[in-house]
C-alpha cells in the first residue's frame, strides 16, 4: 500500500540520511579515496621513470622499517616530549585564564593566540633567525662573552623540540581552556567544604575534570608533531630528521611513491595505536563522559 500518508512518513524517516549525504560525499572524496589510494600505492612496484603499478608488494614496508626505524622512533619521541612540555606550559596559563581571567578572559586568549596569526613557516624561520649561531640571541650573548664562541643551538634536538612546542601552544591552550572553563565552580567549592586543601582540590577534582581538554589537546598536538617536518627542516640538522622529512624526501626528491606511502601508512597505524593506548590507560569512556 502506498497511500500518501505512508509515503510522507517514509520521506520523513529518510530525511536525516538525505541531509547527511553531503557529509558522506565529502568523507568519501577527501578521506576514503585518498586513504585507499595511499594504501594501494604502498603496495605498488616500479620506478620513477616507468611509473608505479599495484602489485601486492609488501617489500617497501620491510625496507621502511629497517631503513628508517631511527627516524620513526625519534618522531614519536620528539612528538611525545613536545606534547608533554606543551601541556605543562599551557595548563597553568589556561587554568589562570579560566579561573582568574575575570572579565578579560577573551582578551588574554586573544593575546596568546595573536602570534599564531602569522604564518607557521614565517614563525619557524623567525626562530631560526633568533637561534642561529651568530643570531639575535646567541650572537648577542657571545659578543658579551657570556657564552663560548662554539655554542650552538640550531640543529640540536632541543631546537627541534622547542620549535614543536612553540608551534603547538595555541592548539593545546584552546581545548584546555574550554575544559577548565566548563569545570563546575560549585563542585570546586564542594571539595573545599570536604576538607580538600587547594592542592588536593586541584589533583582530585580540577585535573580529572579537565581530562577531556588534556585528551583533545593531546590528539591535536601529538598527531601533528609526530608527522611534522618543518621544524626539523628549519631548526634541525642531519641528526634530528623526523619521519616527516623522510616522507617528504621520498615523495618529492626520490619520487619513490611506494616508500612514501608505506611510511605514511606505518605512521598512521602507529598513531592510531598510540591514541588507543592513551585512551586505554586514562579511560576513554570517562573522557567521553565528562565531555558530554
Amino acid at each position: 500500500m502506498s497511500d500518501p500518508v505512508s509515503v510522507r512518513r517514509l520521506g520523513r524517516g529518510a530525511a536525516p540520511y538525505l541531509l547527511s549525504l553531503p557529509s558522506w560525499a565529502y568523507l568519501a572524496a577527501f578521506f576514503i579515496i585518498p586513504l585507499v589510494s595511499m594504501l594501494s600505492m604502498s603496495l605498488a612496484k616500479g620506478n620513477p621513470l616507468v611509473g608505479y603499478a599495484f602489485a601486492w608488494n609488501f617489500a617497501e614496508f620491510g625496507k621502511a622499517v629497517t631503513q628508517y626505524n631511527t627516524q620513526l622512533i625519534r618522531s614519536f619521541w620528539y612528538g611525545a616530549l613536545s606534547t608533554f612540555i606543551t601541556l605543562v606550559i599551557t595548563y597553568p596559563v589556561a587554568y589562570w585564564i579560566a579561573f582568574y581571567g575575570g572579565k578579560h578572559k577573551g582578551t588574554f586568549l586573544f593575546l596568546i593566540l595573536l602570534p599564531f596569526f602569522v604564518s607557521f613557516v614565517i614563525r619557524t624561520l623567525a626562530w631560526q633567525f633568533i637561534l642561529s649561531d651568530q643570531g639575535l640571541l646567541l650572537g648577542t650573548l657571545k659578543a658579551l662573552h657570556l657564552l663560548p664562541k662554539t655554542t650552538y643551538v640550531l640543529s640540536t634536538p632541543a631546537a627541534v623540540v622547542g620549535g614543536l612546542v612553540y608551534n603547538s601552544v595555541a592548539y593545546y591552550i584552546l581545548p584546555l581552556y574550554v575544559a577548565l572553563e566548563k569545570v563546575d565552580r560549585r563542585v570546586v567549592r564542594a571539595a573545599g567544604d570536604l576538607y580538600a586543601s587547594p592542592s588536593a582540590t586541584f589533583w582530585k577534582v580540577i585535573l580529572p575534570l579537565s581530562a577531556p581538554g588534556i585528551f583533545a589537546g593531546f590528539l591535536l598536538v601529538f598527531v601533528t608533531n609526530v608527522g611534522d617536518f618543518v621544524n626539523a627542516a628549519v631548526l634541525g640538522g642531519p641528526g634530528t630528521r623526523m619521519i616527516g622529512n623522510i616522507i617528504q624526501y621520498n615523495f618529492f626528491d626520490a619520487q619513490n611513491y611506494p616508500m612514501a606511502a608505506a611510511l605514511s601508512s606505518i605512521l598512521m597505524f602507529l598513531l592510531i595505536l598510540a591514541i588507543y593506548l592513551y585512551a586505554r590507560v586514562f579511560g576513554a569512556e570517562q573522557i567521553q563522559e565528562y565531555a558530554a
Binding site: 563546575d184 560549585r186 567544604d193 576538607y195
Partner: protein
C-alpha cells in the same frame, strides 16, 4: 528543658569569651554550638547581611527563613567559610573561625545544586572528605556503608551521579556531608530542585536523619511551610537582618513584627488605640470603632497605639442570628468573597468600617457556610490577638 550541669561544659578558650553587650541572649545552660556576633557582609554598596547576631544550640535543627535576596546564602557561606564577614565574628564550639578557610572548619555543606563530583562514583563521593582527613581505609569503608544505609542508597555505590535521579543525588549530597560527622551541617535550600511530592517526602526523611545523627543542622529555605515543619527553631530574615527567632509555633502564634506576621502564614492586621485595662487584658479601640480585648502581655512595651493581628484560621464565621460568643472579640460584617479550597472555605469579610478580613473555615461542620453578600459575625478568642512592631515607613 532540663539544664545540663555546667561542669560538663568544656572550659572556654581565651578568645571565645563573649564580649559584654554583644552576645545575644541565649540559653546559657545549653552548650553553644554556633554563634554569630554582629556579623556584617557588604558587597560594595550592598549590605547583604546587616549586624546579625545569632546563637544556635548543639543538636538543633535551625532554619533561616526569608525571601530571595534577604541574605540567607551569604550568612550560610560565612559560617561555612566561603565568604569572610566584613565585620563581626563567627564562633563554632567556642572557637573563632571567622577567618578560617572552609577546609579547616568542622562544618559540611549540602549545596542547593548538590555539586556532586561527576567523575567519582557514589561511594567515592561519600568517601571524599574522609580520604582528605586521612581516615584509615577500613574505617572509611564502614562509615560509607553506614551512610549508604542511612540515606537508603544501598546498591548504588558504584554508580556515577549522572545516573541517579534528583532525589537520589540529593541523598548522596547529604551522605557525603554527614559521613564526616561535622559539628554542624549547612543546608542551602537542599530540596529546592525537587518536585513537590518528593520535597514533602525528603522533609520528613531529613528530619528523621537529623534526629538519628544528632548533628546541628543550619537549614536555609524560602519555604515557610518547610521551615515550620522541620525546625526546632527558626529565624525569619529580611533585608540582611533577623526579624524574629524562636520555635515555629511561637513565631507563628506571636509574630514580633508586621513583616513576620505577613511572611509566616497570613494575618489580618488592624490599627487600634489602648482604651483601658481589665485584669490580663487591655481594651483596644480599633480605628473602625469596635473594641477588642488584647492580652496585656502582648501589648506590653508597644505604647498606646497598637498594630494588632489575628490569623485567618483563628476566626470563626457565625450567622448573625446566633448570639454573640461571650468574651470573644467580635466584629460584624458582610461576606464579599467565598472561595472553596477543598478542605474548607476561604472568606473575605468586610466590616462596618470597610476593613477586610480573611477567614479560613474547615468543612467539619454539617451546616453550609454563608454565601456572598450575607451578613455575618466574625469572632476569635482574645488570646489569639497578637501585637507586632509596625512596618517601618
Amino acid at each position: 528543658m532540663p539544664a545540663r550541669p555546667a561542669t560538663s561544659q568544656p572550659a572556654p578558650q581565651g578568645g571565645a569569651a563573649p564580649r559584654p553587650g554583644s552576645a545575644p541572649a541565649a540559653g546559657n545552660s545549653q552548650r553553644m554550638d554556633v554563634r554569630l556576633e554582629n556579623v556584617t557582609k557588604s558587597y560594595g554598596p550592598v549590605t547583604a547581611v546587616d549586624d546579625l547576631s545569632l546563637v544556635i544550640e548543639s543538636g538543633e535543627f535551625f532554619s533561616l527563613l526569608g525571601s530571595s535576596g534577604c541574605g540567607k546564602t551569604t550568612t550560610l557561606s560565612m559560617v561555612g567559610g566561603f565568604q569572610e564577614p566584613t565585620s563581626g565574628h563567627i564562633y563554632l564550639g567556642g572557637t573563632d573561625v571567622s577567618r578560617l578557610p572552609p577546609y579547616k572548619r568542622d562544618v559540611n555543606t549540602v549545596f542547593q545544586s548538590y555539586a556532586l563530583f561527576p567523575h567519582l562514583t557514589v561511594a567515592e563521593n561519600v568517601a571524599f572528605g574522609l580520604k582528605r582527613k586521612k581516615v584509615p581505609k577500613s574505617e572509611i569503608e564502614s562509615r560509607v556503608a553506614e551512610m549508604m544505609r542511612l540515606v537508603d542508597l544501598k546498591g548504588f555505590e558504584n554508580r556515577k551521579p549522572a545516573l541517579l535521579s534528583g532525589g537520589q543525588q540529593q541523598r548522596v549530597a547529604l551522605a557525603r556531608a554527614l559521613v564526616n560527622r561535622p559539628k554542624l551541617l549547612l543546608l542551602d535550600e537542599p530540596l529546592g530542585a525537587l518536585d513537590l511530592k518528593l520535597r514533602k517526602q525528603m522533609q520528613i526523611e531529613l528530619k528523621r536523619i537529623q534526629v538519628e545523627v544528632g548533628i546541628t543542622f543550619l537549614y536555609v529555605t524560602h519555604d515557610q511551610e518547610e521551615a515550620i515543619v522541620m525546625s526546632d527553631r527558626l529565624a525569619v530574615m529580611s533585608k540582611g537582618k533577623i526579624e524574629q527567632v524562636g520555635p515555629p509555633s511561637e513565631v507563628y502564634d506571636r509574630p514580633a513584627t508586621e513583616f513576620v506576621a505577613g511572611f509566616l502564614g497570613a494575618s489580618n492586621m488592624m490599627w487600634g488605640e489602648v482604651s483601658g485595662q481589665a485584669g490580663d487584658y487591655v481594651a483596644v479601640k480599633l480605628d473602625g470603632g469596635a473594641v477588642l480585648q488584647v492580652p496585656a502581655a502582648a501589648a506590653e512595651g508597644h505604647g498606646t497605639r497598637l498594630r494588632l493581628g489575628v490569623r485567618p484560621e483563628k476566626i470563626s464565621v457565625l450567622p448573625v442570628s446566633e448570639p454573640a460568643r461571650e468574651g470573644w472579640n467580635t466584629l460584624e460584617g458582610t461576606v464579599t468573597l467565598s472561595v472553596y479550597t477543598g478542605i474548607g472555605h476561604q472568606y473575605t469579610i468586610r466590616d462596618a468600617a470597610g476593613h477586610e478580613f480573611a477567614a479560613y473555615v474547615q468543612n467539619s461542620e454539617a451546616a453550609r457556610g454563608p454565601d456572598r453578600g450575607e451578613a455575618v459575625r466574625i469572632a476569635w478568642r482574645p488570646e489569639h490577638t497578637f501585637v507586632v512592631a509596625p512596618e517601618q515607613g
